[in-house]
């Protein structure tokens, strides 16, 4: 009670005061009857000074505030009256009074957190609008400031009917102010930006009020922000990778900031705030106007501003939605398919820049969607008909393709490894395969192969291989190996390079790029082979090796192919150093040498290169497996070559043409039996070689022509003779050769690859049994007879060779072996080299 009495006492005094002052104040429009006016009106009137320059009468303002707080029911009347006064003062161009009235309204707004504020707010906003409708910059700026104050208060009850349409429209218009004076222009634009910020703050937090995310608002807000950001100091937009990051570059005092704040900085802040508040459903309505703005203002080429804008967006959007931005950008790329290639390239580049930011958050199908979409664009671009004579268009399109690839690589780089593999499988799945294709489409298909494999290569570059069974699952390995046999030589190089990335766990591949017998100089990093590794080798190793020799044997093989294939084989030596691998790789090396000696379709240079590959691999394998006898043997061959055939130790650029392929003396060649002996001596299990021999046959069709299936032997080639000579010299009567599995055709090979290992092993085991039985049970004479009966061709050839090669310095042990074989049949199992190679 006492409170109320004091109040009325003081109010009474105030009233007297005001009456007195009113009498003096002749400026008052209706001063004479002041005492008869309602009290709230008198209180309001009293806050205005006699002299406008004096500003708000503070003490009276306090009284008005106190009155409003104690009689909140009067607040709406007070608001209405103030609004009226403002309206009148605007009309009469009495700006100082307008400013004072607005200051009063601000204070009342902030002081009164009453329920009745709702009604006061209506007058308040009406007044703000009134100010915004004037053409005077000062009043518009004032309006914006008051609006921001309003935006920052929390109202108790939302007002469903309130609309911000006008404010958004007008603030957006202010953001584009074209005032001739720069200072005024900046202030007006800042006022617009702050107003927009205010509307956003006011509306986003409350679902019940106007939906600010409606396109009708966003289509005004977003371009206004971008338009101001566009005129930022160049530094802000600069394209280096560390600008704009998660934090605004400079903190902007957005409330009552100083005059010299840069509108672009505030605009950027506003955009960050807006994007940061966007929920998933609203992202599209924010992003869409961004695209429209960038398109219309032609901000894609150059794309610094676009990149800057999207960085800002990506770093402020709620992380879990970031991929939605990427998706939207992709959609925009879709709709821009008819834009200039330069524009699309820029878009793809922007994508590449921001995609990494999204990658961390991408999960599940969205990852593949993004990849799929990128690949779709790539295919589209490659298949799009561009007149070849339009050089510029062609290069532009090429740039577009490259930017897509780097976007993809960038994306994959930031994904967890298991998703990288998924992506790689996805890409290889989309690569036009080895199947039949329309000859019309071949160039485009090959280009697509190039592109996709380049993609794959980029992804695999970023992949850190640990466990081969995860890096190279069958579903990935299969198509990869298939692609390694396609017609286009460059595609095959790419496949090998992909394999390098996936196989190389110790960063050795740069050291193994070129064949070399100087293994110790390479400083290879070698780890012990784990159980998982040897299991992987057991399952897939020999297939990979078969594949490698097949692809060496293709007629259009190039130096790059040979080097790449060598590198793959060498990496297998290093990464999968198991006994099984050793046996296979030795046989592989011999097969390579065989191709070198026999495949006359190959360029002479390449045939020499294959010799280099063979010796290098044997040397490498003997070192990694630490087989002293082999190390010794290989160095013996190396020194022999050093003496008489140095061109067989290094890739030789010049002299290849002049060197006769058949002039290689036997001591310079890898000898099968010598290697076998080394292995035996080292106590290595040579039997282990046997079960895996089958597929190797494929590459030996020249030397091991199968007489049992009545194929005419092709022993006319001198180099063939050479090899066969040294072989036949030492080996069994050739009977075993007849057991070559089947005719070696591509189909057969494919069958071999496709067949489960088990069944193949079984078949081979059976065959072995048959051979063994035969050798066990047939008297030697009969064996000899049967081998003689094979026909004269072989005998003739043998004789020819034997006479031609009169001296065989390395031949001693082999001759011994022959004798040994001839005398004691029971040793056939280990000693018949045929079993190694049939």
């Amino acid at each position: 009670m006492s409170v109320w009495s004091t109040l009325s006492d003081s109010s009474f005094l105030e009233m007297l005061d005001s009456v007195l002052s009113k009498c003096d104040a002749s400026h008052c429009c209706c001063g004479c009857c002041a005492a008869l006016r309602p009290r709230y009106k008198r209180l309001v009137d009293n806050i205005f000074p006699v002299n406008p320059e004096d500003g708000l009468v503070r003490s009276n303002m306090d009284k008005l505030t106190f009155y409003s707080m104690s009689s909140p029911e009067k607040l709406d009347r007070i608001g209405e009256y103030l609004a009226q006064r403002v309206s009148r003062d605007i009309y009469r161009h009495r700006n100082p009074m307008v400013i004072i009235a607005m200051e009063a309204m601000d204070q009342l707004l902030l002081a009164c957190h009453a329920q009745s504020l709702n009604l006061f707010v209506e007058s308040f906003l009406k007044t703000v609008q009134k100010l915004l409708e004037t053409t005077e910059p000062a009043l518009q700026i004032l309006a914006s400031q008051s609006f921001v104050k309003f935006a920052n208060i929390e109202e108790d009850t939302p007002s469903y009917h309130r609309r911000y349409d006008f404010f958004v429209s007008k603030f957006a218009s202010l953001c584009h102010s074209n005032h001739p004076e720069v200072d005024v222009l900046n202030s007006l634009r800042l006022a617009g930006l702050r107003g927009i910020q205010g509307v956003v703050r006011k509306t986003v937090s409350d679902d019940l009020v106007e939906n600010i995310w409606e396109p009708v608002h966003m289509d005004k807000i977003v371009p206004s922000l971008l338009y101001n950001m566009q005129h930022a100091r160049p530094r802000r937009i600069s394209n280096d990778d560390n600008s704009p990051n998660g934090l605004p570059e400079e903190q902007v005092d957005s409330e009552n900031g100083a005059r010299n704040i840069d509108p672009s900085a505030l605009a950027e802040n506003c955009l960050r705030e807006l994007v940061g508040r966007a929920s998933f459903g609203n992202i599209r309505s924010v992003i869409k106007p961004v695209f429209k703005h960038l398109d219309l203002h032609e901000l894609w080429v150059p794309n610094d501003f676009a990149i800057y804008t999207f960085r800002v967006i990506m770093y402020s959007i709620q992380v879990q939605y970031s991929y939605a931005v990427v998706e939207n950008l992709m959609m925009h790329l879709d709709t821009s398919s008819r834009s200039r290639a330069k524009v699309r390239t820029s878009m793809a580049n922007v994508l590449a820049k921001i995609i990494a930011i999204a990658a961390g958050e991408s999960v599940g199908p969205s990852v593949l969607e993004i990849v799929n979409s990128l690949l779709k664009h790539l295919k589209q671009s490659i298949m799009s008909p561009i007149p070849v004579d339009d050089k510029e268009a062609v290069t532009d399109e090429k740039h577009f393709q490259e930017s897509l690839i780097s976007a993809l690589a960038e994306f994959a780089y930031h994904l967890p490894d298991y998703q990288k593999i998924e992506i790689m499988m996805f890409i290889i799945g989309g690569t036009p395969g080895t199947g039949k294709s329309d000859p019309e489409n071949v160039p485009a298909e090959t280009l697509l192969q190039h592109m996709l494999l380049k993609c794959l290569l980029k992804v695999s570059h970023k992949y850190k291989s640990t466990n081969f069974s995860t890096s190279l699952p069958l579903t990935f390995l299969d198509p990869l190996l298939r692609t390694s046999l396609v017609q286009d030589a460059y595609v095959r190089v790419l496949v090998q390079e992909i394999l390098h990335c996936l196989l190389d766990r110790h960063d050795n591949r740069s050291k193994l790029k070129k064949p070399s017998v100087e293994i110790c100089d390479l400083n290879l990093a070698i780890d012990k082979c784990s159980r998982a590794d040897s299991l992987f080798y057991k399952n897939h190793g020999s297939r990979i090796l078969v594949n490698l020799s097949e692809s060496l044997d293709l007629n259009n093989v190039t130096r790059e192919n040979i080097e790449a294939i060598y590198c793959t084989a060498a990496l297998i030596c290093v990464e999968l150093a198991t006994d099984e691998m050793l046996v296979d790789i030795l046989r592989w090396a011999l097969a390579v040498q065989d191709v070198a000696l026999t495949n006359t379709m190959l360029h002479p240079k390449n045939r020499l290169s294959l010799h280099v590959v063979a010796i290098s691999i044997v040397t490498l394998a003997s070192h990694t497996m630490n087989v002293t006898t082999l190390v010794e043997y290989s160095s013996k061959v190396v020194s022999a070559r050093n003496g008489s055939a140095p061109h067989l130790l290094n890739f030789n650029e010049s002299s290849a043409e002049s060197i006769q392929q058949d002039a290689i003396s036997p001591e310079c060649l890898l000898d099968f039996n010598a290697i076998a002996d080394c292995m035996k001596e080292a106590g290595r299990d040579i039997m282990g070689m046997i079960p895996l021999q089958g597929p190797f046959n494929a590459n030996q069709r020249y030397s091991w022509a199968d007489s049992s299936v009545n194929q005419p032997s092709s022993f006319t080639d001198l180099s063939n003779i050479n090899l066969d000579g040294s072989e036949s010299n030492t080996s069994s009567p050739g009977l075993a050769r007849r057991y070559a599995e089947e005719e070696v055709t591509f189909e057969a090979l494919k069958k071999v690859l496709a067949e489960p290992v088990e069944s193949r092993r079984e078949a081979e085991y059976e065959k072995r049994q048959v051979i063994c039985e035969k050798f066990r049970n047939t008297p030697f004479q009969q064996l000899v007879a049967s081998s003689q009966s094979k026909g004269d061709v072989l005998n003739d050839t043998l004789n020819q060779i034997l006479t031609r090669i009169s001296v065989m310095p390395c031949g001693q042990p082999e001759l011994n072996a022959v004798q040994h074989n001839n005398q004691s049949l029971p040793h056939y199992g280990n000693n018949f080299p045929d079993l190694f190679v049939y």
Partner: protein, 202 residues
Amino acid sequence: MEDYKYLFKVVLIGNAGVGKTCLVRRFTQGIFPPGQGATIGVDFMIKTVEIDGLKIKLQIWDTAGQERFRSITQSYYRSAHALILVYDVSAQPSFDCLPVWLREVEEYASPKVLRVLVGNKVDRDDREIPPAVGEGFSRMNNMYFIETSAKDCSNVDKLFQEIARELIQDANSNDGPVGQQDTTHLDGAAEKSWSESNCCKS
């Protein structure tokens, strides 16, 4: 001061340089500004007119004609009660672009919007578009038509007066007092008799 009966939103569109801003300033401020610069984004003006004793407040949004600003200007079409499509009678290209503008109107504006075609700069003696051509176009496209000059003031007030009059009629025929709300809708399917009757001849 707030005693207007209706509030209408009017949006001006048309090629750059046809005189939209000059028209608005002539109407709202009574001046023909020398060296009027190209509009950036959207400008805003307010003017109250009196029709038959009723005060009508017109919110006038003057958009930039330059194509790059379409990103923002189109967003102002939707809430317009009237759209003024301006061309320059002395510039054929500005007339040739009208179909493009109409397509934008179809896409972004309310289907009930009042559409007015204005041929501006009739004071010039190098006219390229005869009045009949402009009128023909307006009739084909179901628009009102008037020729104006922001420079010599002809028909400028009339343009806005007629718009206000039409909008009142629309509002009344729709029964609902449009009032001072921002959300005024024009549902009336009033016959567009304007160009045939009183205001197309200058």
